[in-house]
Amino acid sequence: MGFFSSFFKSDVKSGENAKNRLKVAITSDRAVCSPEIMEQMKNEIIQVISKYVEIDVEGLDIKVKQMELEDGATPVNAVMANIPIKGSRNFRRSQQH
């Protein structure tokens, strides 16, 4: 693995490497959001979704992440949320509305 990764690296010119690394670093620099704001956003999302389905608040996970895109595209930041739903009963009820 180490051998192959170092072999591969030598193929990429350092200028290109600099550009790619910077894109990633700057995108996450720009996306820096204070923990308080993240917490506030998380709580509001819980409130909204709880109106429709019962969710597992403990298992909830929200973060700002870079989205995987096809090669060459400028990276895009996205708010990624994993919101586990408790049971399917709630879903059926929301469909009836």
Partner: protein, 262 residues
């Protein structure tokens, strides 16, 4: 009514002071009335780059503290009578001046000068806040290196947050040979990352070192950096100037140099 331009970068040592000296001198060569302000309190540099270090009597802090009138502190340039320098204080620190005081000073100078150039200190603290306080536009200087570009991005964000009208980018110390071999980011790469308008590309040029040694800005002289700085000045006053193709130009300058050596 004049325009206040702040020259800033975030990272130190990328060429803010050299840019301020050359752009200011170039604008003066075009007949504009220009004043350069060294806002780096405690680390005075613009005066030595301009070759005016022996003429300092009063400084920026004296003006702000009303120890003298603005006119008394302004040093007239050696070569251009319409170019002035307001030097920084060497013995005080950044807290000797506030953004409000800088804004007031800039507004007063606008009455008399076409261009007021603020040479900003490195960093994003008080010195930066002082330098951008009265600015109408900003020139962000970077080199094609990861650390400088990253800091430039932070600075551009802060300039936007402070509602500085226009922000333009100068890519400094570009090594054409290294860009060609793929071992340096091109100016296009840097522009793509920072997403801001480019106003000039200055190649790495040993003449810059010589010009700093002699305390005489080289803008307008017959070397690549001299031409690049002049083009930036023309773009500042609103002229449309094509970007120099250093690849082709280098051949020409090298030919000229080799002819002169013979």
């Amino acid at each position: 009514m004049g325009e206040v331009i702040v020259i800033t970068s975030g990272k130190g040592g990328v060429g803010k002071t050299t840019t301020t000296a050359n752009v200011g001198t170039g604008l003066a060569m075009m007949g504009k009335k220009v004043v350069l302000i060294d806002t780096d309190i405690g680390l005075r540099n613009l005066d030595v780059i301009m070759g005016l270090e022996n003429r300092i009597v009063y400084n920026l802090v004296d003006v702000v503290e009303n120890n003298c009138r603005i006119k008394q502190a302004l040093i007239k340039d050696k070569r251009y009578p319409n170019l002035y320098l307001l030097p920084s204080a060497q013995t005080k620190d950044k807290t000797a001046v506030t953004p409000e005081q800088m804004k007031k000073l800039a507004d007063e100078l606008k009455e008399e000068f076409d261009y007021i150039l603020m040479d900003c200190p490195a960093g994003i603290e008080q010195g930066f806040k002082n330098a951008i306080a009265g600015a109408d536009r900003a020139l962000v200087v970077t080199t094609p290196e990861v650390s400088a570009v990253r800091d430039a991005d932070r600075i551009i964000g802060l300039l936007e947050a402070n509602e500085i009208g226009q922000t333009h980018l100068i890519v400094n110390r570009l090594r054409v040979d290294m860009v060609k071999s793929g071992d340096m980011m091109s100016s296009d790469d840097v522009v793509e990352i920072l997403a801001v308008d480019l106003i000039g590309v200055v190649p790495d040029d040993e003449h810059i070192v010589i010009s700093a040694n002699n305390g005489e800005p080289l803008v307008g002289s017959d070397c690549m950096a001299g031409q690049a700085y002049m083009n930036i000045c023309k773009r500042i006053v609103g002229e449309q100037v094509d970007f120099i193709d250093f690849e082709a130009k280098k051949g020409l300058f090298q030919k000229l140099a080799s002819i002169l050596k013979k």
